[in-house]
């Protein structure tokens, strides 16, 4: 479909221009910091000297992308319907601790145990997202503010649970609070064999390349299928594009809000699992926070589409990975956040500009094919 292709090409061109501009802007910052931008950009691609360092770096990069991708998906499901689920942050933390705790209370064959943990996480995330959804549907409470409040509540609830009811045994002299250790059967098998295919050594870093990556890919596909091919996805799209029209077409907006929010929360519930099932084996006070907020940026950068989100998550993870490398190169590592922020801003600006251009082109095409641009000559 040439029209679609045109639009896609324009979008890619816009994104490339935005990234080039972001690089230019951050170069200025790096120069201002008294460092050499070339060193800095070399650092982004410098994964280390030894093969071991390289595979570890690659694994760290991909492992970082996995939760970011899931977070992006979670946010995007809501955004597609103009529902701003700012509460992904709270949903995933609460889900992670509950799943980690439930998973630690029993042992079962790996597939069953992992499945239970995943289901618990999704259920808790979904249920927690149900609260703002119900508040919005029954009382018209703005979901942005409700989820912001619920984030604070979830974060405190989590820290209460990890110290109190869900606390596990700690080693002598350990100050990190944690849930009970998961059994080995709960740990997600890693994907280190992929490195064998390329004749590389296995990454040695904790957990190697997280197997959850596969699940994330499957999840991405599933979200794509659901959003783009099913009736439910159509209803989501319709509600997002024009909610009065969706309502008139028989879509029940209340049901849709609840469904989309719960789906979003359910996906959000999985954000913490790669880390827990791939590496930590428990929820503890070092558990990575803030992925929900980063997910917003990732989703927006990826234009709320699974493929775009994957690209955005990889980009963010790629930049994040260089945290250490930049410091080795004596470049302030905070330049990463600047690049991320600038890219988000510029890419959406570029999106806007290219979208307008694409619309213009399409209208032009439509008008030309209809021959509307030839005014008639009529004698008065």
């Amino acid at each position: 479909m040439p029209a679609g292709l045109n639009r896609a090409l324009l979008t890619v061109a816009g994104a490339v221009i935005a990234i080039v501009l972001a690089i230019a802007i951050s170069s200025v910052a790096i120069v201002a910091a008294g460092a050499n931008p070339l060193d800095a950009f070399a650092a982004f691609f410098n994964f280390g000297e030894t093969p071991r360092a390289v595979v570890n770096g690659v694994a760290a990069f991909l492992n970082r992308a996995v939760p970011l991708f899931i977070a992006g998906l979670a946010v995007a499901v809501g955004f597609r319907m103009n529902l701003f689920n700012i509460g992904v942050e709270g949903q995933y933390r609460l889900a992670a601790i509950c799943a980690a705790y439930v998973g630690s209370t029993f042992t079962a064959p790996a597939p069953i145990q992992i499945a239970v943990i995943v289901v618990v996480a999704a259920a808790v995330g979904g249920l927690y997202a149900l609260i703002p959804a119900v508040m919005k549907v029954t009382r018209g409470v703005n979901e942005v503010i409700a989820t912001i409040m619920l984030n604070y509540i979830a974060i405190n609830l989590t820290s209460f649970l990890v110290r109190g009811p869900f606390a596990g045994q700690r080693g002598e002299g350990q100050l990190t609070t944690t849930t009970p250790e998961l059994a080995d059967s709960a740990m997600f098998p890693n994907l280190n064999f992929i490195f064998d295919w390329f004749g590389q050594p296995s990454p040695t870093r904790g957990g190697g390349l997280w197997g959850f990556l596969l699940l994330a890919v499957v999840l991405g596909l599933a979200v794509w299928v659901v959003l783009e091919r099913t009736r439910f996805g159509f209803n989501v799209k319709a509600s997002g594009l024009n909610s009065p029209a969706a309502l008139a077409s028989g879509v029940d907006p209340k049901k849709m809000i609840i469904a989309a929010m719960v789906l979003s929360g359910g996906i959000a519930g999985l954000i913490g699992l790669p880390e827990i099932l791939g590496d930590r084996g428990a929820f503890n006070s070092n558990f990575t926070a803030g992925l929900g907020f980063l997910g917003i940026a990732v989703a927006l950068l990826g234009r709320n589409k699974p493929v775009g989100i994957a690209v955005a998550a990889l980009l963010f993870a790629f930049l994040d990975r260089a945290q250490g490398a930049l410091q080795f190169a004596e470049v302030p590592a905070s330049v990463i956040t600047i690049i991320q922020g600038v890219i988000v801003l510029l890419v959406v600006v570029a999106n806007e500009v290219t979208k307008r251009l694409a619309l213009r082109l399409e209208e032009q095409r439509a008008a030309q094919q209809l021959g509307r641009n030839t005014p008639v000559e009529v004698a008065a």
């Binding site: 479909m1 029209a3 679609g4 091919r229 099913t230 009736r231 439910f232 996805g233 159509f234 209803n235 799209k237 319709a238 594009l241 024009n242 009065p244 029209a245 969706a246 309502l247 008139a248 077409s249 028989g250 879509v251 029940d252 619309l359 213009r360 082109l361 399409e362 209208e363 032009q364 095409r365 439509a366 008008a367 030309q368 094919q369 209809l370 509307r372 641009n373 030839t374 005014p375 008639v376 000559e377 009529v378 004698a379 008065a380």
Partner: protein
């Protein structure tokens, strides 16, 4: 005639060779119009002919690509509306330009605020507005919120806005589209007064009899170009004007013989809707009693005990001034808004059903505002075909959307309904309004509905498309479709309907026979000027 005595004065507005291109469209092409001061100058033309664009150019909202504008003899180059306002031009737009949550006063003074020591001088503004309102017979309460006003009042606020700025040249873009004949007459009275004060009025309307009634001169635009400039006395009939506009014979909405059967397709009983939100009827109370109680308490009712039946093969027209409950009525029938009372489709009581179930059981819906309720502008045509048919063949395949079948069926609609589009993958927003409307009509007719709500089915649609849509409605009616027709176009209403009901303040106040009713008499019922129920 005043126009004659002022003929030597400089023209109020001179448009010379105005050309305006939009991507892919030439909206205006070498337009030449001369407007004499102290006259009402009408501009007529088909939908999309370029009238609004031209006026926006004159008002500084858009820049012409070519051509010159002279106001009172001096050439001007407007960059923003404020430049136009500065030389005394004011414009009432085709669609209301009002901020609902601001008061009438705030809406009027916005942009030209009287100030006193940094403060907004509301006292001075109120005084000025009251004066203007009195001297022009435009009564409004300056402290009311605009959202509480009806359309007539809003129209008055729009005109006051222009007068408040001291405009000497008024542009009125289809000001009568939402008014009933009586209100139109009131407006014309005001215009004549303004004209007598020496103001110049540029007036746009699709209602040619109105044009003939008020205008001193008429310019006809076709496809962006001026095709004729005539003085009023050069025009002999509306038909002559219309033929200039389209260059072809005019269709009329004339229903031929009756196809009404005795099988009830839709029955509405005691439909009632409160203004302050839906409250359930207490148990053990009948709806009639409940409504009586509400009336006794002086509660405002959007729908007040509305009952009617539509038979298979019948078109029931609902006449009424906008804002008298038409929107609420159709939304209640569609299940979009909660209301008391019963709705039955055939034998089935559907009053507790969801919108979806109602649609599935055979109700079609052409909404009054296609952009708001009818289309996903940023989605392709075939996706718009799916809208409202998500759960039915051919769009549905289990839990999936059947893309191939949906596209194929969209091709059918495009062919059958003459939707002018490059392909079914084109985004809906790239289509002109008329083509969008044809797509909607085609969509709602598919799946053989038993009952169709057609709200303003030809609004903003050009004559050719209008005739096509009327034909489709008539054919479906002949095949046994029941139609609830709501239209502001009284000719359309009278021409198509088998029965006409008049809705006034949420009540059905008259049932009329379209064969012996004139638009004027209909207008009388619609405005409450003629009271009582007339049985046919």
């Amino acid at each position: 005639m005043s126009a004659d005595t002022l003929a030597t004065a400089k023209p109020a507005v001179e448009l010379e060779g105005i050309t305006k291109r939009f991507p892919g469209v030439v909206a205006n092409h070498d337009i030449r119009i001369t407007v004499e001061p102290g006259t009402v100058h009408a501009i007529v033309g088909e939908n999309g002919a370029g009238k609004s664009t031209l006026m926006k150019i004159l008002y500084g909202m858009q820049k012409p690509d070519e051509g010159t504008i002279k106001v009172n003899g001096t050439e001007v180059g407007f960059r923003t509306p404020s430049d136009a306002i500065a030389v005394g031009i004011g414009m009432v737009h085709q669609h209301f330009m009002l901020a609902d949550n601001l008061t009438v006063l705030e809406n009027i003074v916005l942009g030209a605020e009287p100030k006193k020591g940094g403060r907004l001088d509301t006292a001075a503004a109120r005084k000025r507005i009251t004066e203007l309102a009195e001297s022009h017979g435009l009564r409004v309460d300056p402290d009311k919120l605009v959202e509480d006003l009806g359309v007539g009042d809003r129209q008055r606020v729009e005109i006051l806005k222009v007068l408040y700025r001291g405009a000497r040249i008024l542009i009125l873009d289809e000001p009568t589209a939402v008014l009933v004949p009586q209100e139109v007459e009131e407006l014309f009275q005001n215009l004549r007064e303004l004209k007598a004060e020496g103001l110049t009025v540029i007036f746009i309307s699709h209602k040619l009899d109105e044009v003939l009634d008020i205008a001193d001169a008429i310019t006809v635009i076709r496809r962006g170009t001026t095709v004729a400039s005539l003085a009023r006395n050069e025009v002999t009939s509306a038909r002559q004007l219309a033929e200039l506009m389209v260059g072809s014979e005019l269709p009329t909405p004339e229903t031929r013989e009756s196809t009404v059967t005795d099988r009830v397709a839709l029955k509405v009983a005691h439909l009632t809707m409160e203004a302050d939100g839906y409250h359930p009827v207490p148990k053990g109370t009948s709806i009639e009693d409940y409504v009586g109680k509400l009336r006794a308490e002086g509660k405002r009712l959007l729908l007040d005990d509305v009952s009617f039946e539509i038979h298979e093969g019948e078109i029931l027209g609902i006449a009424g001034v906008e804002g008298n409950g038409q929107s609420e009525l159709i939304e209640a029938i569609m299940g979009i808004r909660a209301a008391h009372g019963g709705v039955a489709l055939g034998e089935q009581d559907i009053s507790t059903w969801s919108t979806l179930k109602r649609r599935e059981s055979g109700i079609g819906y052409i909404p009054e505002d296609r952009h708001r309720q009818g289309l996903l502008l940023e989605a392709s045509l075939w996706e718009n075909r799916v809208l409202g048919h998500q759960t039915r063949k051919p769009a549905r395949n289990g839990i999936w959307v059947d893309r191939r079948a949906a596209k194929a069926d969209t091709e059918r609609i495009v062919k059958d309904y003459d939707v002018r589009t490059p392909s079914v993958d084109t985004l809906a927003l790239a289509l002109s309004g008329g083509n969008q409307q044809k797509l909607i009509v085609g969509r709602e007719m598919s799946g053989a509905p038993k009952f169709l709500i057609a709200a303003h089915p030809t609004r903003g649609v050009d004559v050719g498309a209008q005739a096509a849509i009327w034909d489709h409605l008539r054919n479906a009616r002949a095949a046994g479709l029941a139609v609830l027709l709501i239209s502001a176009d009284l000719d359309e209403l009278i021409g198509l309907s088998d029965t006409i009901q008049v809705i006034y303040r949420g009540r059905l106040v008259a049932a009329l026979d379209p064969s012996d009713i004139t638009p004027e008499r209909l207008g009388g019922y619609m405005t409450g000027a003629i009271a009582g129920t007339e049985e046919t």
